[in-house]
Structures are given as structure tokens and as C-alpha cells.
């Protein structure tokens, strides 16, 4: 369907403009049903880059691929749009963090199984951006899903020496059970 070179170039551009993450040459190849040579893609990306020369965005190459970036001179104004973007993590993000913390290492699939709903990719992205969660490898099952775990910074930020210092769920149940008797005891000791 998309046959001419200009159509290929358009598709590369639109993929770059709509992607949340940098795109690799492998990613670009996935866009097409027919095989497009890597060299062709590289050449067309160069053309896209020069098409955008002197415009509002730069096509840049990062370690993991290509992406469009707003020219730096716009950044300050763009930050005014969302001054304090996140003041509070959503319940979803907190649950994902808790699962990674208590159940690590986990895959995205594990998280979905535990929560029982499909996972919005933003949740993990926010936690990775915060440097509380990182990918520590791939699970050797079909699809080789990434394994997520908490980071050193996570421990630092919460003042833990180790993940075992996270509150224990069993402890919580016990506390609940002995909650009331304690009151009585305090009274009696104070009398004594």
C-alpha cells in the first residue's frame, strides 16, 4: 500500500512524532509489511532531518534510537504549561511500585496478573523516570519480557538499608489483632 519513497518517509516522520520513546532502525522496519533496507531507512531519516532543519523540532539520535526533540529555546516556555506536573502518584502507580518492591523481580505480565488488569505503560515509565525502578534483565520465556526491580535510589529515598525493611504484611495483621488489648494494658500499668 505504502509504496513510494515519499510515503515511506512520511511514515517515518509520523512514527517519530507520535512515539513516546526513541525509535531504532528495527522499530522502523516493523512499520512496513514489506522489507525496507536499513540503509534506505537511514538515508530517509537523514532527509527527514534536513526537512526539519530550521523548524521547531530537531531529529536527534540517542543511544537507543532516533527521536524528535523540541528546540531547546522552547523548553522554558513548554515547562510553563505543566508547572508541577505530578504532585501525587495515582493509585495505579503506587500499586505497581508496591508490587515491584514486594515481588521483585517481576515482569509486566506478573504485575498484570497480580492486579488483574492490563497495565498502562505510563505507570512503569513514571517509576523508571523517578529512578525507583529499573530493568535488571529479561525473563527467558517467549517474548523475553523485561524484569523489573527496585533500585538503590529507592532504598536511599526511603531510608532503607535493604528491601527486607519494608513493612511486613504479617506484622500488620498481628498488630491489628493485638490493637485493643494494648489499651487495657496501658491503663493497668499506669495504675500500678
Amino acid at each position: 500500500m505504502i509504496d513510494s519513497t515519499s510515503k515511506i518517509k512520511e511514515l517515518l516522520e509520523v512514527a517519530l512524532l507520535t512515539s513516546q520513546r526513541p525509535l531504532s532502525i528495527d522499530d522502523f522496519q516493523k512499520l512496513f509489511i514489506e522489507k525496507i533496507e536499513r540503509s534506505t531507512i537511514r538515508m530517509l531519516l537523514d532527509e527527514v532531518k534536513s526537512d526539519w532543519h530550521d523548524k521547531t523540532m530537531n531529529l536527534i539520535q540517542t543511544s537507543s534510537g532516533y527521536r524528535f526533540e523540541a528546540l531547546p529555546l522552547f523548553s522554558e516556555a513548554l515547562m510553563r504549561l505543566n508547572p508541577d506536573r505530578v504532585m501525587k502518584y495515582s493509585r495505579m502507580v503506587m500499586e505497581v511500585l508496591a508490587i515491584v518492591a514486594y515481588r521483585q523481580p517481576v515482569t509486566r505480565g506478573d504485575i498484570e496478573k497480580i492486579r488483574g488488569v492490563s497495565l498502562n505503560p505510563n505507570a512503569l515509565r513514571q517509576l523508571i523516570e523517578r529512578e525507583w525502578v529499573e530493568i535488571i534483565g529479561q525473563k527467558e520465556v517467549p517474548g523475553r519480557p523485561s524484569l523489573y526491580a527496585t533500585t538503590k535510589y529507592f532504598l536511599d529515598d526511603f531510608g532503607f538499608m535493604s528491601i527486607t525493611e519494608l513493612p511486613d504484611i504479617n506484622q500488620f495483621t498481628n498488630e491489628n489483632i493485638i490493637d485493643e488489648p494494648i489499651q487495657g494494658n496501658i491503663d493497668s500499668t499506669q495504675q500500678g
Binding site: 509520523v14 517519530l16 512524532l17 507520535t18 512515539s19 513516546q20 523540532m57 527521536r67 524528535f68 526533540e69 523540541a70 531547546p72 522552547f74 523548553s75 522554558e76 513548554l78 515547562m79 508541577d84 506536573r85 505530578v86 504532585m87 501525587k88 502518584y89 493509585r91 503506587m94 500499586e95 511500585l97 508496591a98 508490587i99 518492591a101 514486594y102 515481588r103 521483585q104 523481580p105 497480580i114 492486579r115 488483574g116 523517578r130 535488571i136 534483565g137 529479561q138 525473563k139 527467558e140 520465556v141 523475553r144 524484569l147 526491580a149 527496585t150 526511603f158 535493604s162 528491601i163 527486607t164 519494608l166 513493612p167 511486613d168 504484611i169 504479617n170 506484622q171 500488620f172
Partner: protein, 264 residues
């Protein structure tokens, strides 16, 4: 005479024909009942299917036929020992109630209006089918993220991002919520020791990400580590092997044992 009639009515019948197996017009064979159950959104959906399948006017449901078919279906579900949803049984009760009321003389309301015992069911069926078609219509509309994509290019954030504050309690509460919701026995058994196994799994995987091959013994500082820690570390290695995340290698007897990631 009347006794015999009653017995016959209790047997599953479809349009006068007694059936010992699933009705022919049910399009999924009995051995696929599990899939079959999944393909219905509930008792109203099943009832609608039966009504539609037989091209019956929803406003003039032949109660006896539909009830029999429905009951056959529910009986089959029980036979296959599927966990029979209470909603399906409730619907059975409602159908039987309507059926029995239809056998009695039709009562008249205060205003002299005839009360059709099927009215409430019809109202429900109409409303449900309406919503069902509404869902199908919504599904056809191009959705963002499924059929449409928006611009989402990157820009360098210049000022410091203010991150939300999170306390340990927040994480713990989130975890409690998950467990409360999951209600599965497995998830209730999150103990401290299990957590430390999980932590060691992460530590081992991280060190194997840095170096391809790590000697088994290097994970155990037998001089300094307390015994519980050594045991936990060993359990973590076993767990990682079980989950096929790492491989344990030894070239020949008595030579050093190495750990490596499953993919390397």
C-alpha cells in the same frame, strides 16, 4: 393425569421435544461449555441469545420454551461442575416465577390494567440489548491509542521536576490494597523471609548483569555472613534457577561452580 403433565414440564424440553443433550440450536458443543460460558456476559445475555436464536419477539416471549431451554443450559453447566454463578440461578428463579404466574389467572391492577408477569423481564432485556448495541457502536468508533495516534514528541525539561512525596506507608497501603483485592491465598503469605529471598534474587541478577560469569562461592561470605543470610542467598539461587532466570554450571566434578544468566 395432571401429575404426568407436571413431570413432563420439569424435563428439559425444547418446543415440545424432550432433549437429553444440549439443544441442537446451541451453536457450541457441550465439551466447549467453558468457552461457551465465557462467551456470554451473564444471564440476560444468554436469554437474549436464546430469544434471538429462535427469532422470538421479545415482547411476546413463550415463557415455557425459553425457561426450559435456559434450565437445560444451567443444568449442563452444573454437570460440568463449572462454578455456577449466582446470577444465573437467580435468573432461573425469575423465569420459573414468571412461568408459574402465567399459569394462574391474570390479576388486574387497581386501574384495571392487566399485569403481564413478563413485563419486568422484557424491560430488562430491552434495556440490556440497548446497552449491548451501544457498546458495539462505541467499539466501532476510532479510539485514541487503538485506531488513532497523537503527537507526543519529546522536549528537554529545563527546570527541576517536582516529584510527588511518597512515604513508606503509602507503599504499604498500596500493597495491602492489592492483597485485600486479590484474596488469593498465595498473596497472603508475604513474609519477611520471602521478601529477603526476593531481594537476593535481585542482587544476584544485578551482579550477573555486570559480569557474565560469577563464581557460585562468591555470593557466600561464610566468614562474615550469618547463617540465615547464607540460607536466604542459597534459596534465592534455587528460586532463580527454578524461574529459569539463571543457569548453574560446573565443567567437571570438584571444579568451581559458576552462575550465569540464562540468556548469555
Amino acid at each position: 393425569m395432571s401429575d404426568q403433565l407436571d413431570t413432563n414440564q420439569l424435563l428439559p424440553k425444547v418446543y415440545g421435544e424432550r432433549i437429553g443433550s444440549l439443544p441442537q440450536d446451541l451453536y457450541i458443543p457441550p465439551d466447549a461449555l467453558e468457552i461457551y460460558l465465557d462467551s456470554f456476559e451473564g444471564p440476560l445475555d444468554l436469554l437474549l441469545y436464546l430469544i434471538r436464536k429462535n427469532n422470538i419477539d421479545i415482547l411476546d416471549i413463550p415463557m415455557a420454551n425459553i425457561t426450559s431451554q435456559y434450565m437445560t443450559y444451567v443444568e449442563k453447566m452444573k454437570a460440568i461442575k463449572l462454578e455456577l454463578a449466582a446470577d444465573y440461578l437467580l435468573m432461573s428463579a425469575m423465569l420459573i416465577e414468571i412461568k408459574s404466574r402465567m399459569l394462574l389467572p391474570v390479576p388486574e391492577s387497581e386501574e384495571g390494567e392487566e399485569l403481564d408477569p413478563r413485563a419486568e423481564l422484557v424491560r430488562k432485556l430491552v434495556e440490556y440489548e440497548l446497552m449491548k448495541s451501544a457498546a458495539e457502536e462505541l467499539e466501532k468508533i476510532p479510539q485514541l491509542g487503538k485506531d488513532r495516534m497523537v503527537a507526543n514528541a519529546y522536549f528537554e525539561k529545563v527546570t527541576e521536576i517536582t516529584y510527588p512525596d511518597v512515604s513508606v506507608d503509602d507503599i504499604f497501603n498500596a500493597w495491602k490494597n492489592i492483597i485485600k483485592r486479590a484474596k488469593q491465598f498465595d498473596n497472603h503469605k508475604i513474609s519477611r523471609s520471602e521478601l529477603s529471598v526476593r531481594e537476593h534474587m535481585t542482587i544476584i541478577l544485578k551482579s550477573l548483569a555486570e559480569k557474565e560469569l560469577v563464581e557460585f562461592s562468591s555470593f557466600f561470605d561464610t566468614e562474615r555472613d550469618p547463617i540465615p543470610k547464607l540460607v536466604v542467598c542459597f534459596l534465592a539461587i534455587l528460586e532463580l534457577t527454578k524461574e529459569r532466570l539463571i543457569r548453574i554450571n560446573q565443567q567437571e566434578p570438584c571444579s568451581p561452580i559458576y552462575l550465569q544468566r540464562e540468556n548469555s
